[in-house]
């Protein structure tokens, strides 16, 4: 696969033609040895030796004294922490490469004929240049739970509040002197009834006067309004105190937007909203009814999604990964797309296929080799994913987001580190990429023989 990638990567790295090349006239073997020596020594000591060491070490227990055979490999599945890691790695491998390849395919196909596609590709590809650490910090900021900090929740809350009305005064409650009593479910109902011509007073407390949302004006006592029932909802408290309880005093704030319902025999007969000066007017049908402030006035504000909580932390981090790698898939697939023979597409169109059928039945099969390369590359990459999870998952949910590479690191460094188990995880990671290694070798040998 590597060689195929290298070809797709551009003019810089073609695969050489086959055939036995002779050396440039009589190189002595020891000269070749000298040129190779540093590489062989370093690869042997730094890459090959560790593989052997890890395999051997994985057969011993935590402190390396007792031989446990394949016991550590069994623990991978029986131990809760490592089993979560195995499970999450499987989720990552199943979801992330497919998602990223899908995004890359969509972007590559859509930008094919757009004039500013280079600019678009630059934007999508840019995250490939930065470290997983930086990407992790970027996405911790995106996923911040507070809608005033994290842009993801700001959007979610914004959309939610557009469709579901949000309450403006979550902490307000009736003052002690008022006639309003809690009537279940968070609403408040007056014990007495209202009469047309005698304005109702609905004093609330529980909000600091300087923290009233929207900084409304002062409240005004409602005037009687003929047949209708009028009244005032206001904050019966002002900074510095003063004023009579239960009366609208100068300087006390109006609470505009509060909904007031007139209830008779448990049924809502009329409703109104308090205006900018806190006053409201109900029609004559409200005469003799009780007044109720429904719970929706006081509901706690919607705070968005707990992105990094136990249930969403892995999908959230996969999202961050897709952000980083979609550009990679896009560029490779776009290169493949450029090599697709237009005549085949045109022939299908002449045969009466619509564009979707052409895409589905002709373009995709022609792209299949590239798509496979992209998928496999991403799978290898995802099996070893570490930094993103280490950075994005907060401490309390890091166990839920655990993957093999992270578990290896934790078994190695964490308290009560278990080098035997950590080595076994390393060997498992190697075994997982083994098929790709074999494919690489076989392709290379085939190219040699040709």
């Amino acid at each position: 696969m590597a060689s195929q990638l290298a070809t797709a990567g551009g003019p810089a790295n073609p695969v050489p033609p086959a055939g036995k090349r002779k050396s440039v006239m009589g190189t002595r073997p020891w000269v070749a040895g000298l040129f190779l020596l540093p590489a062989i020594v370093l690869l042997g000591a730094l890459v090959v030796y560790p593989i052997g060491y890890s395999v051997w070490r994985s057969l011993y227990d935590a402190d390396g004294s007792g031989f446990v055979g394949l016991g550590n490999y069994g623990d991978l599945f029986s131990d809760d922490a490592t089993f979560t890691a195995v499970k999450n790695t499987a989720i990552w491998v199943a979801v992330a490469p497919a998602l990223v390849t899908g995004l890359g395919l969509i972007f590559a196909v859509l930008t094919e004929r757009v004039r500013w596609s280079t600019a678009f590709k630059l934007v999508i590809f840019m995250p490939m240049a930065i470290s997983m650490l930086a990407a992790g910090i970027i996405f911790r900021l995106v996923y911040e739970a507070d809608p005033d900090q994290g842009v993801a929740n700001a959007v979610v809350v914004g959309v939610h509040d557009t469709f579901a009305e949000s309450s403006v005064y979550p902490k307000a409650r009736p003052s002690a002197v008022s006639d309003l009593k809690a009537s279940g479910g968070g609403s408040f109902t007056s014990t007495g009834t209202v009469r047309a011509g005698s304005p109702a007073l609905l004093p609330l407390v529980g909000i600091a006067p300087n923290k009233v949302p929207g900084s409304p004006g002062d409240a005004k006592a409602a005037e009687s309004s003929g047949d209708g029932v009028s009244g005032t909802v206001w904050l019966d408290f002002k900074l510095g105190g003063g004023g009579a309880k239960g009366a609208v005093d100068a300087g006390e704030k109006a609470l505009p937007g509060i909904e007031v319902e007139a209830v008779r025999d448990g049924k809502v007969v009329a409703s109104a909203k308090a205006g900018d000066d806190g006053t409201f007017t109900l029609p004559a049908s409200a005469d003799g009814a009780q007044l109720r402030l429904p719970a929706s006035n006081f509901a706690a504000a919607y705070n968005g999604v707990d992105w990094l909580g136990p249930s969403l932390v892995t999908p959230a981090i996969i999202g961050a990964y897709a952000w980083m790698w979609a550009g990679f898939a896009m560029v490779l697939i776009a290169a493949g797309l450029a090599g697709v023979d237009r005549n085949l597409l045109e022939a299908a169109r002449v045969d009466g296929a619509n564009e979707w059928q052409v895409f589905r039945r002709v373009t995709i099969p022609l792209l299949a080799p590239v798509l496979v390369v992209v998928l496999i590359t991403l799978m290898i990459n995802v099996m070893k994913i570490f930094d993103l999870i280490y950075i994005i998952a907060p401490q309390p949910t890091q166990d839920e987001a655990n993957v093999l590479a992270l578990q290896l690191y934790n078994s190695y460094t964490g308290g009560g580190g278990n080098l035997g188990l950590a080595s076994a995880i390393g060997v498992v990671l190697l075994l997982l990429v083994m098929p790709v290694m074999i494919v690489n070798i076989r392709r290379l040998r085939r190219e040699r023989r040709r």
Binding site: L5, P16, R57, R113, L141, V358, K384, V433, M437
Partner: protein, 304 residues
């Protein structure tokens, strides 16, 4: 799902191979309308992609009180909030400046050594005749996908025995080891494409292996060496895991210094945001300056 059909239909190439007459007007109208939709969609996607980075950038230019008070998007309505205070505070911290230097001390040698040793081996594999050459090269190719994780524990033991655990030397060595398979693979393939006549002519002029290597192979291998250099540089510069294991408080690079900050997150965006941005500046500069080599290097090297 009409979207994927759009680019297939619209655009200059369809004109050359236009279908039966009479269809073209309809399809042109259709593609004009969906072209608008497509453009809007792509612009939205692009916005979605830059927003996270813009968020980090905007946060890095606000002071802690503003950060605690409101979202970073506030800077668009209140540009007066912009301040470089976080940067000057951060760059005043010795931990950060030292680790930035360490990043350079690690990245530069790890890149140069891989280039030198990789091109020597690449040349030997491409142009020298010795017993078992193809087998040795196969072995190198097999090592392309070995995950670094498997070497963390054995190398800590080995480096401990050698007395280089926790030193810059150890981190550099590790990066060299895991950078070499790809370097050799890439360079050998490129060097093998150099025309034989050039090498033979140089040889007839009496050049030895070393002169061939330095006067023919290295200059002609420039593009591949550039791709490799850029890729290896970024890989080491952006690395966190290797440095997390093998460096100590005196040798840790910027990524590790910042990682420690993330352990107590919400209170210190004012450190993390500018820190992350400083760590991104060099990679982004490299990215924009060498887009071509960068793209080919990253794509060829993604197998790692």
């Amino acid at each position: 799902m009409t979207a994927p059909s759009v680019p297939l239909k619209a655009g200059p190439r369809t004109a050359e191979t236009a279908g039966p007459p009479g269809r073209s007007l309809v399809s042109r109208l259709a593609s004009g309308a969906s072209g608008g939709v497509l453009r809007v969609f792509l612009i939205l996607v692009a916005l979605l992609w830059v927003t996270p980075t813009v968020g980090l950038l905007a946060s890095s230019f606000r002071d802690p009180t503003d950060i605690a008070d409101s979202g970073w998007w506030d800077v668009f309505s209140k540009p007066s909030q912009l301040t470089t205070e976080s940067y000057s505070t951060l760059l005043g911290k010795e931990v950060i400046t030292d680790s930035l230097l360490n990043t350079i001390y690690i990245t530069v040698p790890a890149t140069l050594i891989v280039i030198v040793i990789g091109s020597m081996a690449g040349y030997a594999f491409a142009w020298m005749d010795f017993k078992g050459r193809d087998w040795w090269f196969l072995a190198v190719v097999a090592l392309l996908v070995v995950p670094v994780q498997i070497a963390l524990i054995p190398m800590s033991d080995l480096f401990g025995d050698l007395g280089i655990f926790g030193s810059i030397t150890g981190v550099v060595l590790f990066h060299v080891g895991f950078g070499l398979p790809f370097a050799i693979f890439l360079l050998r393939n490129f060097f093998a494409e150099i025309p034989r006549e050039l090498l033979e002519a140089a040889r007839l002029d009496g050049a030895g292996e070393i002169r061939l290597f330095t006067t023919v192979i290295l200059p002609l291998g420039g593009p591949a060496i550039a791709s490799l250099g850029i890729f290896q540089f970024l890989w080491v510069w952006n690395d966190m895991l290797v440095a997390l294991v093998f460096s100590d408080s005196d040798s840790r690079p910027l990524t590790v210094a910042l990682t420690e900050q993330t352990r107590q997150f919400s209170g210190n965006i004012e450190t993390l945001a500018p820190g992350a941005f400083i760590s991104m500046v060099i990679p982004l500069a490299v990215f924009f300056a060498f887009q071509r080599q960068f793209v080919s290097g990253v794509m060829a090297g993604a197998v790692k």
